[in-house]
Amino acid sequence: MTLAALLLGALVAVAAVLIVARPFLREPETKDDRLLPRGELEDRRLALAEERDRALAALKELEFDHRTGKVSDDDYRAALGPLRRAAADALRALEPRAQSGRERVAFPERQ
């Protein structure tokens, strides 16, 4: 039993080594072994995308809350403008052609 157990244990170890070594066995040599670098530009794009989604979701939520009577007409009108501006700014900043160049990706003004 002990020998069988040890053999099985060795089998588990070998299988583990194979699983761990798999990326190197599949690509013994590679031209590019770097992890995808995340530059400042990508960070800004992501922040803007989050900003855009947040503003769009807030607009949707405001609309729904207004319909359900949770937000009064006055409150609705007061909140709508800044939210629309925030969404538009984020969308504009994310649009490469309108900005004509990646360096134009910038944060919209805070509401």
């Binding site: 002990t2 040890l6 590019d32 995308a49 989050e50 805070r110």
Partner: protein, 662 residues
């Protein structure tokens, strides 16, 4: 085959250490293949831990008493289900279950999020590996379930209170919750390490947090029901340190689930969310430290063991490392928006968070008090039920009220006029219920009266949310009422799933208030043929029955219950004598009155040779709402967890690398 179990655990330890070292190096140096290799190590660690677990299960199945663990926790007479459940009935086996779930979660998490959180996962792998390394080290070096001995003829058996069907479900569910909190913690720390403090770590772990929280909640509820039906003292929660140990991370995770929404909606509370995710994780480890160290007296804890100091060291390390990491990364965690008004949805979330965390910390203080007083004065001093009840009332009742207020308040800012309009109906309902309850005599308990009045407010608020939402959907899409209702939930599962969970918490609150504030207790010694009455019910004791079960001798008092002269049911409270374990257990008998949700709960505290029995009888109004709440809780959690295809498409577009500005 203990050697195979030991070898598999050594392999696991090697793999998770590799995940820490190679994963850390790969993330810091940006090595793609090494990062993948470290990720694979976590997957392989799950496989080798599974092998070790199967070895232990096989030994339990075969009653292989050459395994010390098997002989310590089972016997030949123990039914098979309990023999297999003994896997988590002892210190070493439950640690192995922890590692099995942890490595399983790690493998699944890095596998599932490898695409959506591509940049983050290489940093998450070493954090997960570090936590797994601690548990693997404990199993290999400190507390192995594969210790062997000369096989005795029979084992010591299982503690009688563990011989209950809940033993099959409660511990694994609780562990799924405890261990699940590792995933959001690891992603949070990975986000800090990699400086990627955007929402990606939250998005990647949203379902992990919710499922861990749901498992922890259901696990606790099952544990409460287990205590209620098995321990035989007439209650379901005793503020025991180990019970509190499960409640604390659940409270912290509840706060996190709410505050994370503010980060998603408003980009605020980034630091607070990091603190909360770390707090929830540390409390889950602290819980297992309490259970395993023997520093507190609890019926749930394992015997004294050398594990305590290791756990304490690990907790200190995690707390210091996390605090330092958050401190170093503070500049990346600044909010770019501010709270606009104290009367807004995000403000109510903030109040909810403060109350939840305050409640959690007061429980922590109560749990630590005996440890601290023993360290300072040499003798432990404990805090008891009144301490916890005081804070339950102080924080729990406002929390209950906030559950009704929050959904009625708009995001960002709510005007007084809008608030007045939305609050009108729930306030009116609460007032009417409060007055009616006072007239009905419920004023005998102020906390009970407040709990019911606030519950009415919350119920009206939830009903209003669903009604208004359905009406709005109907007007938008010209659907039927059921169609509009279904599409309302389908289009915003998190929100409406959350409201269903709120309804479950509401039922729980009503059940707890009813069964604690308005319960009736009577104790009486009866001879056969004698009767006692309680709350209009007459209990007549007929005599004692005796039966031999496979692993115990059962004694049952036969009690006829009648109301107004009419026979309602017969109850059989009694005791079981376990000869192998040399222990006796109380076996309660309960009559569930489904018409009013209450229970008639009977305990045969002492059975004399003369045939006299000391009975303890409780009438617990509305207690069954607590268990019913569990089903609604699961339903609400499933609604919130259910994948939303539209949202997934939006998130995929947001995080796809090709979405980068060309």
């Amino acid at each position: 085959m203990p050697e195979l179990g030991r070898a598999a655990l050594v392999v696991t330890l090697g793999l998770v250490l590799y995940a820490v070292l190679a994963g850390g190096w790969a993330a810091a140096r940006g090595r793609r293949r090494l990062a993948l290799s470290a990720r694979n190590a976590l997957v392989a660690a799950f496989c080798s831990t599974l092998v070790a677990s199967l070895v232990l299960w096989a030994a339990l199945w075969r009653h292989d008493f050459s395994f010390t663990y098997v002989s310590d926790h089972t016997s030949r007479k123990l039914p098979l289900g309990y023999s297999l459940a003994a896997f988590w009935g002892g210190q070493e086996g439950s640690l192995l279950l922890w590692l099995l779930i942890l490595t399983g979660y790690c493998a699944l998490a890095v596998w599932l999020t490898g695409r959506s959180a591509r940049g983050l996962v290489p940093w998450v792998v070493p954090v997960l590996g570090l936590v797994a390394s601690f548990f693997a080290f404990m199993l290999v070096v400190v507390s192995s379930p594969f210790a062997t001995q000369l096989a005795p003829a029979d084992g010591a058996g299982m503690t009688p209170s563990l011989q209950n069907p809940y033993m099959l479900a409660h511990p694994p569910l609780l562990y799924l919750g405890y261990v699940g909190l590792t995933i959001p913690f690891a992603f949070g720390m990975g986000a800090l390490l990699s400086r990627q403090t955007d929402e990606r770590w939250i998005v990647a772990t949203r379902r992990w947090t919710l499922s861990a929280w749901a498992f922890l909640g259901v696990g606790q509820l099952l544990g409460a029901h287990w205590a209620y039906t098995e321990i035989g003292w007439g209650g379901y929660y005793a503020w025991d340190p180990v019970e509190n140990a499960a409640l604390m991370p659940w409270l912290a995770a509840t706060a996190f689930l709410h505050s994370v929404m503010i980060q998603e909606k408003r980009g605020m509370l980034k630091v607070w969310n990091m603190i909360l995710v770390a707090l929830a994780f540390c409390l889950s480890i602290f819980g297992t430290f309490l259970t395993r160290s023997g520093v507190v007296n609890s019926i749930h804890s394992f015997s004294q063991s050398p594990l305590g100091s290791w756990f304490l060291g690990f907790i200190v390390f995690i707390v210091v490392a996390t605090a330092l990491l958050i401190w170093v990364r503070l500049p990346l965690l600044h909010a770019r928006t501010k709270l606009e008004s104290l009367a807004s949805r995000e403000a109510t979330f903030l109040y909810n968070n403060l109350l939840l965390v305050a409640f959690c910390l007061t429980i922590l203080w109560g749990v630590m008090w005996p440890i601290l007083t023993e360290a300072v004065r040499g003798t432990p001093s404990t805090v008891s039920k009144p301490y916890y009840n005081f804070f339950l009332h102080s924080f729990g009742l406002p929390l209950l009220l906030l559950m009704g207020i929050g959904p009625l308040v708009a995001w960002r800012r709510a005007s007084l006029r809008a608030l007045g309009r939305t609050f009108l109906v729930p306030f009116g309902v609460a007032l009417a219920v409060g007055v009616a309850l006072l007239a009905a005599g419920a004023g005998s308990s102020l906390p009970g009266l407040l709990a019911y009045t606030f519950s009415a407010f919350v119920a009206a608020s939830i009903a209003l949310e669903f009604t208004r939402g359905t009406r709005a959907r109907r007007s938008l899409a010209d659907e039927s009422w059921p169609g509009a209702f279904a599409s309302l939930i389908a289009r915003n599962r998190r929100r409406y799933g959350g409201y269903v969970v709120h309804a479950a918490v509401l039922m729980l609150a009503i059940g707890v208030a009813g069964s604690s504030a308005y319960q009736t207790v009577r104790e009486q010694k009866l001879m056969p043929g004698q009767s006692m009455t309680i709350d209009g019910r007459t209990l007549t004791y007929r005599g004692v029955q005796q039966r031999q079960a496979s692993n115990a001798q059962e004694f049952r008092a036969v009690v006829d219950v009648s109301i107004g002269g009419g026979h309602v049911t017969t109850l059989y409270p009694g005791k079981n004598v376990y000869p192998v374990e040399q222990q006796t257990s109380n076996e309660v008998s309960i009559y569930h009155d489904w018409r009013n949700g209450g229970d008639l709960f009977t305990i045969a505290d002492q059975i004399d040779k003369s045939g006299a029995v000391y009975f303890k009888v409780l009438v617990k109004p509305l207690v069954n709402l607590i268990w019913l709440a569990g089903f609604i809780f699961v339903g609400g959690s499933l609604i919130a967890l259910w994948p939303d295809a539209a949202e997934q498409r939006r998130l995929a577009a947001r995080y796809a690398p090709e979405a980068a500005v060309a």
